[in-house]
């Protein structure tokens, strides 16, 4: 098999672009795990809701999905807060009463079961509200093809999605690193009781974490909706990959997830090129298994913000 240099370049380019998206989906999942210790199996459904909300806004208000996607992300983030306030809080209080003091109650099996239930609920809700037939969100940007010399080409939409992904990741990193709220989030992630002692309102932190995590997933859905298609089970299709990214990057490690996103995206592309495309999916999981074997804490170690 002879691999042409342009083919290799094309694979690297698309691998990195997909990697950026994996990063955004993974980073929300890793955040919720890092701060709350919650394994959110409904994460993919927030991605799906983001795509459907964007579609609904496009049909109701009109305009380009890439402009409306952030709006959809905020709306889904609000759903995230509502879930935290209405569903999670009472269960959290109950566990707290039984065990005392502030700790990582979201690790409890009840919460995991709750997120699995939410996942099923949201998929069925989407089926009822928007129907089973896949939808494409029209955007002129997907038709605008950027042509590079040597036969390389991709749509403007893909480039924008990549830029938005990178900007979001940088913004999130800066927010966690340099703002007061970011510091409070990191403190809560390290030790909720200690954070409480120094005056952090950890319920508010959990609200913010839910908002950011679900909003990030929704943003990814909103910007990918026009590039791919929108359908009720689209979240289930990405959630396994999101967990691979999170585990590879280190559970709860934001930077690790971003890097792991690129690593997996690139490895899938190159794996498909060299080994054959039927092994694309396998490559991602093999990387995860190797990381778990050699460095179980993830490529950058877990839990560090």
């Amino acid at each position: 098999m002879v691999i042409q240099p342009m083919e290799l370049l094309e694979q690297i380019l698309f691998g990195l672009m997909i990697g950026g998206i994996y990063g955004v989906i993974g980073v929300g999942l890793t955040m919720i795990f890092g701060v709350m210790r919650l394994s959110n199996f409904a994460h993919g459904e927030f991605y799906m809701l983001g795509a459907y909300f964007t579609y609904t806004f496009v049909t109701l208000i009109g305009g380009d999905p890439f402009i409306l996607a952030p709006l959809a992300a905020i709306a889904v983030g609000a759903v995230g807060i509502a879930i935290n306030k209405l569903l999670f809080k009472s269960l959290y209080e109950e566990l707290k009463e039984a065990k005392g003091a502030a700790a990582f109650y979201f690790q409890d099996l009840k919460f995991i079961m709750l997120t699995i239930g939410l996942s099923i609920l949201f998929v069925d809700l989407a089926l009822v509200l928007w129907g089973p037939i896949p939808i494409s969100i029209p955007s002129p940007l997907t038709k605008h093809i950027i042509k590079l010399p040597g036969g390389l080409s991709f749509s403007l939409a893909r480039l924008i999605a990549f830029v938005v992904a990178i900007a979001t990741l940088v913004g999130l990193y800066a927010f966690l690193k340099f703002t007061k709220t970011g510091r409070a989030i990191r403190a809560t992630a390290q030790n909720p009781s200690a954070a409480m002692l120094v005056g952090v309102n950890i319920y508010r932190i959990y609200d913010i974490t839910m908002f950011l995590s679900t909003g990030l997933a929704a943003l990814a859905g909103g910007i990918l909706g026009p590039i791919y298609n929108v359908y009720p089970t689209m979240g289930l299709d990405v959630v396994a990959k999101a967990f691979v990214v999170v585990i590879t990057g280190g559970m709860g490690n934001v930077i690790g997830s971003i890097l792991a996103g690129f690593l997996i995206g690139l490895a899938e592309s190159l794996g498909g090129l060299f080994l054959g495309t039927e092994y694309k999916q396998v490559v991602a999981f093999v990387i995860m298994i190797i990381v778990l074997w050699v460095r179980p804490e993830g490529i950058l170690g877990g839990g560090r913000k």
């Binding site: 089973p132 896949p134 990918l224 090129l273």
Partner: protein, 401 residues
């Protein structure tokens, strides 16, 4: 203590009698009553729900039509619908419920071949009729089951007819293949590849993607580098739309050829202009002028307000075969009905339908090309000559150099 023990014994005995009686009643079937139950199994939720909807709507319509005409041999037909999510475990449970609790006379379904193959033995063992309107795995009708009937062309029939047409009319020197990485995709690529190779076409790339993939750029990039004359793809409508869009995105404008899975208006909406020029198999076209097809389309449109997709036609024809078979046999005796169905020849939505010894309907598939007619995307029938609506247009003409 002694009393309560006696009571317990009586209760247990009573329960056993009731259960045995219930079992006996369900086993003998509702031969005396005014209705006969039939079951439909289809993916109504999950990733294939869009296709399940077609099957469900066609089944409801067919049963209503049968009942409007006075039922079958004086009996009203009652439809029991079960969701399978295209999951063999769920489907097995659903079929058990249909067989033991609902005591259905016949089962219609499924969409996924893996599911049909999983539930087929228990239906055959229970001596119930199985009508397969959608699943195409060749094996389903190759196992020698007496009570299995398939009303659509199987994978082998549609894939070889597709390959034959491509080789004869497009005269490609090289071809690439891309398919979903499961039994359906793998079987499709093997049959098409073998057929094309036997006619002197060189296969320059064979790529696969996993179920649930949304990005196909890495497969398409490899195909682009191999520079084939035609690209044969096995995919459902969602994947097919993404594949065509992404192919055009990376500048791959060769002739794409697909199987019957993409025959629906939803696919044209989803893929939009990227579908232009695509050649694919179709079992059924709502534009068909044949009276049996036109009647079905009219009724379906009146009831559901949209055009039926191909799967709907398969289900409709399955119910026709069921009704005509029982009427021809003049009895509900399942062996006589099975024999009667084998000797049927009738005009269905998909054309003239008759079955071979194995219960496989002998239907001719259509080959269509997506073209723009009056500014709108339409499937134009290229083959067979009897149904032909237009001429093939090569991609160079549609998209420029």
């Amino acid at each position: 203590m002694a009393l309560s023990k006696n009571v317990l014994v009586i209760v247990v005995v009573a329960l056993i009698v009731i259960v045995a009686a219930a079992f006996y009643l369900t086993q003998t079937g509702p031969t005396a009553g005014g209705t006969v139950k039939v079951g439909l199994i289809a993916p109504l939720t999950g990733g294939l729900a869009e296709h399940g909807l077609d099957m469900k709507q066609a089944a409801i319509l067919a049963v209503d039509e049968i009942n409007k005409q006075g039922g079958i041999l004086g009996k009203k037909v009652e439809l029991v619908i079960e969701d399978t999510e295209c999951n063999p475990t769920k489907a097995t449970a659903a079929v058990q419920r249909l067989l033991t609790q609902e005591n259905v006379y016949a089962v219609f379904g499924e969409y996924c071949s893996t599911v049909t193959l999983a539930v087929q033995p228990s239906i055959m063992e229970a001596k119930k009729l199985l009508f397969v309107p959608v699943s195409v795995a060749t094996k389903i009708t190759e196992q020698g089951y007496k009570y299995t009937f398939r009303t659509c062309a199987n994978q082998w029939m549609q894939t070889t007819q597709n390959a034959d047409w491509v080789v004869e009319h497009l005269k490609p020197k090289t071809a690439a293949m891309l398919g979903v990485n499961d039994d359906y995709g793998r079987e499709g690529l093997k049959i098409w590849g073998d057929r094309a190779k036997s006619k002197g076409v060189k296969i320059v790339a064979e790529e696969y993607f996993d179920k649930g993939s949304t990005d196909f750029t890495s497969q398409l990039s490899k195909i682009k580098a191999a520079n084939p004359d035609v690209i044969f793809v096995v995919a459902n409508i969602r994947d097919a739309a993404n594949i065509l869009r992404q192919a055009h995105e990376i500048g791959l404008y060769k002739q794409f050829v697909m199987l019957g899975g993409v025959t629906s208006d939803e696919f044209l909406q989803l893929a939009d202009d990227d579908a232009l020029g695509l050649v694919h198999v179709s079992y059924f076209e709502p534009t068909s002028k044949r009276p049996a097809a036109a009647e079905f389309v009219k009724k379906f449109r009146e009831r559901w307000g949209r055009n039926p997709a191909m799967y709907a036609a398969g289900v409709w024809d399955a119910f026709l075969a069921f009704k005509l078979g029982v009427e021809k046999a003049g009895t509900w005796d399942v062996d006589k009905v099975a024999d009667a169905i084998r000797s049927l020849k009738f005009e269905g939505a998909q054309g003239t339908i008759y079955f071979d010894e194995k219960g496989q309907a002998q239907t001719k598939v259509l080959l269509v090309q997506v073209q723009k007619v009056g500014g709108k995307l339409k499937r134009v029938i290229l083959y067979p000559p009897s149904d032909k609506q237009g001429e093939y247009i090569p991609p160079e003409k549609l998209y420029g150099g």
